[in-house]
């Protein structure tokens, strides 16, 4: 699971959807690997506009990275040189950082989801489904 994807998912339990604390999930005991991938600056630019930056900062903190700026980098242009360094860093963080194993905990209901072999699992037990 890419770091990027943590920004798109929340607790799958329906009663948590209206709760402000069900996103982002809290990441615990995560095992990370850097998986090299071709640098695609357009991809990062497309993604950036969809990101909830506060959640990015929060999850990065869960994973031990406290160096992110508090505000979303803006007006990045792959052609501009000063944008390049930022885009590269974002690529490394969002695309190349893989969570191979770990727990995702809902801060509202406390349910635990697991990431196994890089695939997050959001299946719910019967009492939480529907």
């Amino acid at each position: 699971m890419k770091f990027l994807t943590t920004n798109f998912v929340q607790c799958a339990v329906k009663s948590c959807h209206s709760s402000l604390t069900s996103f982002p999930l809290q990441y615990e005991e995560c095992q990370l690997v850097q998986q090299e991938q071709d640098y695609n600056p357009e991809f990062i630019v497309h993604m950036l506009e969809r990101l909830d930056w506060n959640a990015i900062v929060q999850v990065a903190k869960d994973l031990g990275n406290e160096s992110l700026p508090a505000n979303k980098p803006e007006d990045l242009d792959p052609i501009m040189e000063d944008s390049q360094a930022v885009l590269r860093d974002l690529h490394t963080l969002l695309v190349e950082t893989q969570i191979v194993e770990g727990k995702m905990v809902c801060k509202n209901c406390g349910h635990i989801y697991y990431i196994k072999n890089s695939i997050p699992n959001f299946l719910l037990p019967p009492h939480l489904a529907n």
């Binding site: 798109f8 329906k14 909830d52 695939i119 699992n121 959001f122 037990p125």
Partner: protein
Amino acid sequence: MKDYLIYFAQAYPNFRTAELESLANLHNFSLDLSGHDEKNPFLIVQLEDDEQAQKILERSILARGIYELWGHGTNYEELHQDVQKRSCDKFDTYKHDTFKFNFESFMGSKSNKARIEIIESFGYLEFEGAINLKKPQQIYTVLEEYKVNGMEKANVPLNIWFGRQIQLSARMNNILDKYDLKRRNYIGTTSFDAELSLVTCNIAQVRSGKITYDPFTGTGSFLVTAANFGALPMGSDIDVRMLKGKSAKCNIRETFKQYGTLGQYIDVLTMDFTNNAFRSNFVIDNIVCDPPYGVREGLRVCGAKNPEKAAGRENHEIDGQKAHLRRDFIPPKKPYELSNLLDDLLSFAASRLPVDGRLAFWMPTANDDFQVNQIPQHENLELLYNLEQEFNKWSRRLLVYIKRDESYKGETRNGLKEENIKNFRERYFRGFSEKSR
């Protein structure tokens, strides 16, 4: 406006107009295809310029090529007269370009000798550029339509067109070979054939830089074809085994690698579509899928088959930890009805797609009792296309919806539910009644 001739492939003729209309719309222009006849692979359309022609054809799967029309005749004499009359102003424009001639014949053919004679009969064009067979600046094409009567082979064409080639389709550039399931390293019993999944992506207007979601990913058939058109694909499936693949070299990620689109791939999640984990304000631009109808894969969602028996299990503990919170817990699944799943799919699309975003999915129907009202509807989605692929006793339909803004007032209904059509799988295995086609 100028006349252009489109030459279609002999495949899924009833999907042609949907594909080209969608591609034109994707590039913000409208295309009048009302003259199209499914039996005829030739169609004359009117377009602003070559650029429009190129745009609608380059991604097309069901067309072969598009040509600037220089003339038409029912025999060569007529053709030459027409070319000289209507296109003489064009001769000078391309006078010095390198060129070659091509032939396209439908239901017939000509010998090489006859072709050379025909090429020579165009001498009045007075082109001065060199002939270049490898990389000509212009390709002129003679398109012939023959009519076959019974077993006899026709040797005189019924219609002949002459034109300057503008664009060959993705099909002619071998996209079907490239995505052929036989050549794909990871496939399964539910893999969707390349041709129709590419067509689905075209009609769904999958495009560069936009997120395409397949909620029933399986082996990733729609995700890889969406990535071919530049989309950023995400998928989910209730069955983790499909997402994991067979080995480190045989899985969805490797398939993207195989096609050189790994740079666009986002992720696949193990998820029950009906208990969806995507945050509610996450915009998904297109949804394409083939929901599980229970023919090859049973339709299941998370939950207990027998709720009474399962009551209280949430308190069950193993080694002092709630069983359902353990890493090795496998959530039970229960059967689910197709009609409910389609309701869920439409509501999800209505809430997540941006205005003008498209949902495209396949739905099986039995030919003996299909009625249009069985197609589910949602008040915020307009049904654009209902395209049938016929098999012996059943069909599947590609249903394509577009999300409309608040001013649109549609109707929410589900004919499968109203008529209590429960289980496609049951009908499939029981065999459709004799009345079926």
